[in-house]
Amino acid sequence: MRRATSFIMLLLILMSLSCQQADKRTDEIRYVVLSPEIAEILAALGLEDRIVGLTDECTYPPSLLKIPKVGAFGAIKTENVIAIKPSLIFSSGLEQEGISKDLERLGYQVVSVYPKSVAEIYEGIKRVGAITGTDKEAEALVQSMQNEIDALRQSNAGKSIPKVYLEIYRDPIMSVADNSFVGELIEIAGGNNVFDTLERDYSRVKAEDVISAKPDIMICYSQDSLQNIRSRKGWQDIPAIRDSMIFFEDSINPDLIQRAGPRIVEGLRKLSHIYDIYRDSIR
């Protein structure tokens, strides 16, 4: 009996110690960033040196590559996060909702930023600015992004609006809806995304709907080759395929339009450039 009591006592002491450990925070500012988008925002705000841990997907700017990794976006290694003793953790949505809650339960301060539209990127940047004490820089970044996007919109005014089909997956083919983040960018850049509404932002689509929509431009992120796309049964009448208006990752890096971060400005310029190529071709 006495032995059991002392064992339980020991267990309780160990447990209280382990709680203390998690609660113990150093004054040093140490960020662990689980999302590539927030990593880009932090870097743009000049806070790179505060980042002590990242996920495998956080590849931009390239200087981030030398920072230790705590796992992949959808497979965070909790022990690695704890080991670097972060003072603040930035996480995203989707698969990371679960891990965010777990880390909060362990006593860490977790900030979740998951922008789903351009307006939410601005909000996200300002929020990150407020949390990190860089409000001014954040405000300036948002302002410059807004100015650039406004200028782009103005330069596109009056131009024809090409129909754009973006393929993100092959077998089954998947595309994006207007209200998805990428869909919004396609339209801001002066194009018309062919799938106005889909059941999900990123959703399976039917080949016959793509054929009926007659897109002028196809952006292919589905790893399919030009030759294969051209030989798809029934696709030859699609203007984009007939006139070789098919663009791949080498024309526009997917990260520029799929990551909700400061680089969307560059992505929008690239999209706009692609639309200009199309407009020149029909002239």
Partner: protein, 309 residues
């Protein structure tokens, strides 16, 4: 032929034409879509439905097991594994080839495991099939876990996808394989009587001059080829192969010679209807395997209840 059987035979032609017309013409597609997208998809659907139901009826008879279906011998899992492995390696165009090789290798393995002292053993075959199937299923899970970006493709292989986009060359290969497919179905039909006799007992079958061991091996090899083709192009579509033969036997009691062709027709029509619902009746295209089970199960329950005295 029973009265309901006769009525069914008369009714089946207009019903079939109706279902095909609905499938092809729904939403008034332009001729390009009709001929280049819908007709190929219908061909794939019909071939798949026929093959699954046919193999189901043959296996149920040959293995004397009402739960036997095309996937019970693990060949579908092996085939799906081969096809998914190709996709994970980035060779999406070679998926059918991977599926085919997977089916053949699995078959050889299962067949080897089913032999006991050089003799074929029915229950050993089923156990071997289930174990090998589980092994490849775990392989698929592993690939899915390691390759998150391919989840959509793997899911569509596991839940059935008849919406494959063919290239012209792939389409010609598929047509060639369809000819092979139909030839095997005809061969299976011609063996109906022998299979019926064999289902009674091996000794009896041997006494009337059937080479039991050889026939069984042939059926097994050729049905694996069928499954390989079907899974490579359409993924795993459950339910059709299990339930169609039962429904046919309830409606048209008779010998395999009568049941087999009825299975072909019903399997094709059932899958066409299910795929139509999967792609046209819902806002988002559903995996066809979900629909076959969703409409097939209640129908089968109704049949069972109706039959009660």
């Amino acid at each position: 032929m029973s009265r309901s059987g006769k009525a069914l035979a008369i009714l089946i032609l207009p019903i079939a034409l109706g279902i095909f017309a609905l499938y092809l013409l729904w939403g008034n597609p332009d001729p390009n879509i009709l001929w280049q997208v819908r007709v190929p998809r219908l061909c794939l659907t019909v071939i798949t439905g026929m093959s699954l139901a046919a193999i189901g009826s043959v296996y149920q008879l040959m293995l004397a097991n009402p739960l036997a279906e095309p996937y019970i011998l693990g060949i579908s899992s092996g085939s799906a594994f081969g096809s998914i492995l190709m996709a994970a390696l980035g060779l999406i165009v070679l998926m059918p080839l991977g599926g085919f090789i997977g089916a053949i290798l699995t078959m050889l393995l299962v067949w080897r495991l089913a032999q006991k002292n050089g003799m074929f053993d029915r229950s050993r075959l089923i156990i071997a099939g289930v174990i090998v199937g589980m092994f490849f299923s775990s392989g698929i899970s592993l690939i899915m876990y390691l390759n998150r970006e391919d989840t959509a493709l793997i899911m569509s292989t596991l839940m059935g996808n008849l919406g494959r986009i063919f290239s012209y060359r792939e389409w010609h290969i598929f047509l060639g394989l369809s000819v092979l497919n139909i030839s095997i179905l005809i061969w299976l039909y011609l063996k109906s009587r022998a299979l019926d006799i064999m289902s009674a007992s091996d000794h009896y079958a041997a006494s009337v001059g059937i080479d039991v061991h050889r026939l069984r091996k042939q059926v097994f090899v050729l049905s694996s080829v069928l499954i390989g083709i079907v899974v490579s192009y359409a993924g795993i579509i459950g339910f059709v192969g299990l339930i169609t033969p039962h429904i046919v036997r309830m409606m048209i009691p008779g010998t395999q010679k009568k049941i087999f062709p009825a299975c072909l027709i019903l399997g094709a029509l059932f899958l066409t209807l299910a795929d139509f619902m999967a792609k046209s009746m819902t806002v988002m295209e559903l995996p066809v395997g979900v629909v076959t089970a969703a409409i097939g199960c209640p129908f089968f329950m109704w049949l069972l209840l109706r039959r009660q005295p």
